[in-house]
């Protein structure tokens, strides 16, 4: 029950983000989500694409000299109403799971908004998705994202 995120290292140079979008555009890859973490020294772009596009995207990026890797992240669907996200985060909090980062997918599923989260598992054995199974949160997997 995970989404496969592509993470890309970006240098803090003019044009480095454009080089990324150009690479993906040339391969006709549709980005379903894009989030950028920026620091004073570097940036990390995180993106979600459809399953069929993951390998070609990573290959194309590496070809262009980017450092890219895939990471399993948690997708959740939250009611697209005030307080919708808050309820979900309260459930995650009750499980004691720290949130490393979070961003939204640029699509909705019915009346739900879709969010991507990187949760820190308490240890390597723990599967975060399993831990959330009884939390009442609606998990979104890569297969669900593929249909968007």
């Amino acid at each position: 029950m995970y989404i496969k995120q592509i993470s890309v290292y970006l240098e803090n140079d003019t044009g480095s983000l454009r080089a990324l979008t150009k690479t993906l555009a040339e391969k006709h890859i549709d980005m379903l989500a894009l989030s950028i973490a920026d620091t004073t020294n570097f940036g990390i772009a995180r993106l979600v694409v459809r399953s069929a596009d993951i390998e070609p995207a990573v290959a194309a990026l590496r070809e262009q000299g980017f450092v890219a890797k895939t990471t399993a992240v948690v997708g959740i669907a939250v009611a697209n109403v005030p307080g919708g996200l808050d309820g979900a985060l309260a459930a995650i909090e009750s499980k004691g799971l720290p949130i490393e980062y979070m961003y939204s997918l640029n699509a909705v599923s019915g009346s739900n908004a879709l969010m991507v989260l990187r949760l820190t598992a308490p240890d390597e054995q723990t599967d975060v998705a399993t831990l959330l199974a009884d939390s009442g949160i609606t998990l979104v997997a890569q297969e669900d994202v593929d249909k968007l």
Binding site: Q5, E11, N41, R62, V67, K69, E100, R118
Partner: protein, 440 residues
């Protein structure tokens, strides 16, 4: 600018007739060659391999028969393999950067510390030092020869020493101001930094009593001299040395400010062709080679400094008869001097190889910004090292920075770059981009 009185610490030695000096060198060289042949296996083996017996060396004219010594020998014989005196006679260890992660060390007998102290005393005296002076030593104290060397020399001339060591600009200026320091010993780039910080910190340059300074441990330019002299209204003198030969004071500038007098009663200087090793005549540019002739702990025979300069035997108006060496115009190896610290790319490589997942693809970029050296180490990031979280990438960057600081001794800015961003197989020199102009 204040006028520096032409003072000579040891006129008998420093103004010695050149024929008498040659005789002294001949005698001391023979003694040194016998000492190392009888006490240091490496020297004995090298001489035997070259077919040279101690009795073949009758004086300076025979020097060229002796094999060279290199920094790699100090690394290979680390720590005590090159000692020519019993360990019980060694009273001091000083050290410097090695070409890899390990430093090189030199052992000093009581005699060697005295010789070194005398050389620094001569240097400081040439810059006007005497018992009425208050000398602020801003070189680092420790294995690095700068701090203790200047300290000993300043004590020797009877001056009041302020042993500040390096760093903490505010405190340096406060002490310099409040105690009325008359001389400063530090790297030229830090001296300029102090001078530039002075006004920012609200001081009036007129409130300082500084008259001169001995600046060394890194190459500098006439432009920097002018700037430094203007900032503090002082005379700025160049001083040269290296741990292997003793430390700062091996050579120093006099009031003529036209080359550094080499303490020839303690060392013999040669200029050789860096490629062939053939000695070159005075006036020609080549690699500087030193032979120590009074050190007893760790004498050095034809030690290759890798520094490129010119030797000048023309008479000096100051009255000293010793040869002068010009400014260092370059290196024959890939050593960099950054903020007075010797840095070899091999040291950086050894650091990177020890960090799991880090590929040893790197490039060093050196700039001089506001008279201060900046080192940027670009390291190629691999998919393995990369993480989707900022914290992990920052941790990696921090680890590399800390390791470099601990091994090399200087703070570098670490920049992670994409794979293959650094040019490959274009020779060693591509590892370094030095944007500093040290020729003027």
């Amino acid at each position: 600018m204040k006028v520096t009185e032409n003072k000579i610490y040891n006129p008998e030695a420093e103004c010695m007739d050149r024929a008498a000096l040659r005789e002294l060198q001949d005698r001391r060289l023979v003694e040194t060659v016998n000492r190392v042949y009888n006490n240091v296996p490496l020297y004995r083996e090298r001489m035997q391999a070259a077919g040279v017996k101690p009795e073949d060396i009758k004086g300076v004219d025979d020097l060229h028969l002796l094999p060279f010594t290199n920094k790699t020998d100090l690394r290979d014989e680390f720590p005590f393999g090159l000692l020519a005196a019993p360990k019980s006679e060694i009273v001091r260890i000083q050290g410097s950067s090695g070409t890899t992660g390990k430093p090189i060390v030199a052992g000093y007998t009581r005699n060697d510390v005295d010789v070194w102290t005398e050389m620094v005393a001569r240097s400081l005296t040439a810059a006007g030092a005497g018992k009425d002076d208050i000398i602020q030593v801003t070189y680092g104290y420790g294995l690095f020869t700068g701090g203790l060397g200047a300290h000993q020399g300043a004590s020797q001339v009877g001056a009041m020493v302020i042993p500040m060591s390096s760093g903490n600009t505010q405190r340096q200026l406060m002490m310099m101001h409040d105690l009325g320091a008359t001389m400063l010993c530090c790297t030229p780039s830090y001296a300029i930094y102090l001078g530039e910080s002075l006004k920012e910190l609200g001081y009036d340059p007129k409130e300082f009593r500084l008259k001169s300074g001995c600046f060394g441990a890194e190459p500098w330019t006439e432009e920097m001299r002018k700037k430094l002299e203007g900032l503090f209204d002082i005379n700025a003198y160049n001083i040269y040395g290296l741990t292997e030969i003793g430390g700062p004071g091996v050579a120093f500038e006099c009031c003529a400010k036209n080359g550094m007098h080499i303490n020839e009663d303690h060392v013999i200087a040669e200029i050789v062709d860096p490629e062939t090793g053939e000695p070159l005549p005075y006036g020609e540019s080549g690699e500087l080679v030193f032979t120590t002739i009074t050190k007893t702990g760790m004498p050095m025979i034809r030690y290759r400094t890798h520094d490129i300069c010119v030797l000048d035997d023309s008479p000096c108006p100051c009255g000293r008869t010793h040869l002068r060496m010009g400014r260092i115009t370059g290196r024959t190896d890939d050593m960099l001097i950054i903020r007075g610290v010797n840095v070899f790319p091999g040291q950086i490589e050894s650091v990177l190889l020890r960090i799991p997942g880090v590929a040893p693809h790197y490039q060093l970029i050196v700039d001089r910004v506001n008279s201060t050296d900046r080192l940027e180490v670009q390291v190629e990031l691999t998919d393995e090292m990369f993480s989707d979280t900022v914290a992990d990438v920052e941790k990696l960057q921090h680890t590399i920075t800390e390791q470099i600081k601990s091994v090399v001794g200087i703070a570098a800015k670490v920049k992670l770059v994409p794979p293959k961003a650094i040019p490959r197989s274009e020779g060693k020199s591509k590892r370094i981009i030095d944007n500093r102009d040290l020729t003027k």
